[in-house]
Amino acid sequence: MLKDQWSGLTESVVSLGATVRFLWRLLVHTPRALLRFDLIIEQIWNAGALSLVIVMLSGLFVGMVLGLQGFQLLQRFGSEDSLGTASAIGLLKELGPVITALLFAGRAGTALASELGLMRATDQLSAMEMMAVDPIQRVVVPRFLGGVIAMPLLAAIFSVIGLYGAQLIGVQIMGVDSGSFWSQMRASVNPVDINEGLVKSCAFGVTCSLIAVYEGYNADPTAEGVGRATTRTVVTSAVVTLFLDYLITAMFL
């Protein structure tokens, strides 16, 4: 039992080290990969544009729930005019980056991991190696950078749509005054709040994309191996995202 836990712990440490080394390899290849920006644009489209619908829909629903719950809570203290501030801070600092990262890991991360895993299983990566084309530079780095760029954009869209959802419920249905909703929000939300959200979404973008490409690239070249890599991508991304969220929040206090 204890031995199992110990070997599990050692495995995690080894895998963390391997992931960091893999990140270093990606960074070394990044300058040359940037010269072919068309490949990166294609991946921003794959990771970003194709996740847009689920991110927008989720943003709307989360904002609507926030409007409803926020109104209920603030009404108890007679401060329902602060609904705009509460929703904006909640979305920009926490819900926007975190929920987008979880959705991103589920939609784009799994797609990346399974695509790379299948490329490995069907010898496409070895074929590139044999054609003297480095698969890290040609395939992995553009996918990683595409994810890193797409994630903060998606988080920003999530927050904006969420705010609209909160406004829809709070102002249009519950009758909060539109002027105080927006003006209180503008007066109380500081640039530092936006920065916190931005730092989080960038950090989550790097980690979720890194975990996806690492798991996919190193997947066992079998059907089972690709499945395992996909599952691990979602689970690890979710746990690491929530852990980093705590660290960054503490850092900004």
């Binding site: 299948l118 069907t122 010898d123 070895s126 074929a127 590139m128 190696e129 044999m130 054609m131 003297a132």
Partner: protein, 260 residues
């Protein structure tokens, strides 16, 4: 591999401009041999000289990726399943090495790709996606891609596996024709005795990590060795036993606990 040597005392000489076949029972290390020749794996000891360059010592002396890639540009390899890039069309798959390594104008790339596709008989399939191709067609497209950079060495990893007789005939014809027309050195790893006999100039038969016989296909058919006879004749039992090593049969049948 796993502490067990794959090859021991292996000595092979692959002549320029000929079709050399490497044959042997499954699990004898044929694919490992290809990985060694192409620098995908590095041998613990011994020397591998490809086109005048010593791979093993280069690797041990810190062979740079650039050096290895330079060597690989002179090689083409056909993978068992073709290994086409599934997100690119047939045309783009063949154009892939040209686009990655050269700055040729689009018009020239267009012509080069069509010429290579014509050579494998698939010019008409240029617009198809890999998912729309049969197994034999995929391998022919991969072959066009392997020769698009005009390599000096062409390596085939099990090119006949899972093909119908017509596709097999096509691949056989292509191996011979491309080798002679382009002046290539071809290495074919396979265990299809009939097909290899029809196409190879020289055959190496490997077993247990050693070369057990080599010569022309005709010489191998009349080779005075039990293992060669078993392999060339496709016999189920012989020096390579039918049964995987196991404990006593009756003892295991009568064992009440039924431990495996």
């Amino acid at each position: 591999m796993n502490g067990r040597p794959v090859f021991d005392g292996l000595n092979m000489d692959i002549p320029r401009g000929r079709v050399t076949a490497v044959m042997g029972p499954s699990g004898t290390g044929k694919t490992t041999l290809l990985r060694l020749i192409t620098g995908q794996a590095i041998a613990d000891s011994g020397t591998i000289r490809v086109d005048g360059e010593e791979l093993g010592s280069l690797a041990r002396a810190g062979l740079t990726r650039a050096g290895l890639y330079d060597l690989r540009r002179r090689m083409g390899m056909l993978f068992q399943n073709g290994a086409l890039l599934t997100d690119l069309s047939v045309f783009e798959n063949v154009a892939f090495p040209l686009r990655e390594h050269t700055k040729l104008p689009e018009r020239l790339i267009h012509q080069l790709v069509l010429v290579k596709l014509q050579a494998v008989g698939l010019r008409g399939a240029a617009g198809l996606m890999p998912a729309e191709l049969s197994g034999g067609m995929s391998r022919r497209v991969a072959l066009a891609r392997a020769i698009v950079m005009d390599p000096a060495i062409l390596i085939y990893d099990e090119p006949f596996v899972g093909l119908d007789p017509i596709s097999m005939g096509v691949i056989l014809r292509l191996i011979r024709r491309l080798n002679d027309a382009l002046g290539l050195t071809s290495i074919v790893v396979s265990h299809d005795v009939q097909e290899i006999s029809a196409v190879a100039d020289l055959v190496y038969l490997l077993s247990g990590g050693k070369v057990v016989a080599h010569g022309t296909p005709q010489q191998l058919h009349s080779y005075p060795s039990e293992i060669v006879k078993q392999f060339m004749g496709g016999l189920a039992d012989g020096p390579v036993p039918f049964h995987y090593p196991a404990p006593d049969y009756f003892g295991q049948l009568l064992d009440r606990n039924g431990d495996i």
